[in-house]
Symmetry: C2
Subunit: 321 residues, 2 copies
Amino acid sequence: MKDVTLGIDIGGTNTVFGIVDAKGNIIFSDSIPTLGMEPAEDLFERLFEAFNDKFKQYSDEYKLVGIGMGAPDANYYTGAIQNPPNLNWGYVDVASAMKKHYNLPFALTNDANAAAIGEMEFGSARGMKNFVEVTLGTGLGSGIVVNGKMLYGHSGTAGEMGHITIVPDGRKCGCGKKGCLETYVSATGIKRTAFELLATSREESILRDISYNNLTAKQIYEAAKKRDKIAMSAFKYTGRLLGEALADVVALLSPEAIVIFGGLAQAGDVLFEPTRKSMENNLLQFHKGKIKLIKSGLPESDAAILGASALIWQEIRNKSN
Amino acid sequence: MKDVTLGIDIGGTNTVFGIVDAKGNIIFSDSIPTLGMEPAEDLFERLFEAFNDKFKQYSDEYKLVGIGMGAPDANYYTGAIQNPPNLNWGYVDVASAMKKHYNLPFALTNDANAAAIGEMEFGSARGMKNFVEVTLGTGLGSGIVVNGKMLYGHSGTAGEMGHITIVPDGRKCGCGKKGCLETYVSATGIKRTAFELLATSREESILRDISYNNLTAKQIYEAAKKRDKIAMSAFKYTGRLLGEALADVVALLSPEAIVIFGGLAQAGDVLFEPTRKSMENNLLQFHKGKIKLIKSGLPESDAAILGASALIWQEIRNKSN
């Protein structure tokens, strides 16, 4: 029998899960709707029903040794999810809820941290002891790894790079502050930038025919590929601010690499080049040319499962050491 | 025989050293001129001559078990000092140089890191696993402690909080960048702020009679105590920017506390109040009211020796575990 772990990622819309071996091979994966307006326990019931049903056919070959979970507003220390904005759950003690289904080692962390751990186990950060994972989605998340370990901090909430101030008195953020990095550097951020540019410049643009609510970061990327000037400027500005923020993070943490994950990272050079240039310009002399800026090595569709699974693989390994 | 360590701090002008027991009691201390224009080996010769001479009378009672050193531009990983700006040394392999004098456990780090370690062993951060030490001197240094360990990062140069950008395109910094935190928050920074205020405001001030070269941060503090408006505004502005920067640091690291060390910290509430207020205003909701902002618990005159000594006490303890 081969040891495997169950990786679960709770998203606002869907919850994905999969069985992963110690090398990061996904044996099977599936997803169910999260239905965040229903109680969390309902989700866990449906989840394990779906999982058990599927795992039956594998149970001769594989032995489940642990469960890892990535979720919004999850706290590694408490094993709880606290007031996730898109789920009507309040406070959920997930660690205890899990025990009712499987009495196995369990660990929980937020999505960005799970991505960082997945990167360290199975992705671009293999073998690295000090790096920062930046996840670019609707918002900007980050996971900081120090001495080969996830940095959780005193309260378990470290890594909120999306909420460092990049533009004093800048754009309003969902967190209540102004000028947070994620209001500029994220799928939503680049959309806001594109709209600002449509307003301030007189440049023709494909984007002038799309409403704010209809515009996606992907459309901005497609436009940039067609050398649409507004779209290209939006990526340049996004990269410039991301590079500035990364230089500050490097000054504080001296990582070996910055790994960029998520939808916007797929834009490749159109984002990476201005980011790298701006980061280099703002690095301290002794860091210049030495900090790797790399793309995630995790396949985007499986990253959430791999991250959650990597989390519990690490726990199991650390305990056996 | 009681175990003691030798703590050494190399400063631009003087090198201080002292014998410290495991509880942070200084048995004796002394200082010699650094003479940074002479080779480093000359300093080490003079240092150990002075030390041996003094230690003779204690050698029946105390056993030297290790040597710790704080120095500018020191790298913990390499045990070397690299191109310190005020010392004409270039690259000095201090760890090897030490072996010629005493074949004992030796560790080296920069001044701010040594202060953080001293704080953790003997000062305000005793028992804390996650905190940030901010040292306010001519510049701004910082030492970050994560999970009870100093954060050195990949290259050994983590903790350069003085060089995060706080004002985009702001004041010129010695590092070549613009708007670095230490150009605003440090003894030099507050002096620059006072001069800016003298220029922009029409307020009467004691400071109008002092030249830039003659003005000290202490004079600004004395003036603020006498309710000089320019001086008070200078402290308010310094605190505001420090608080903004600390909120970013808290978002990234989620520390239990920020410990402020150094000359400016002696100003007390006149600096701490605006700093605390600004930090609180800029913290994420779940951090508000939870991050301690405290003054160093190390006596300033002995802090350098205590920090250097604490560094090697930690090393010895970690090795025996």
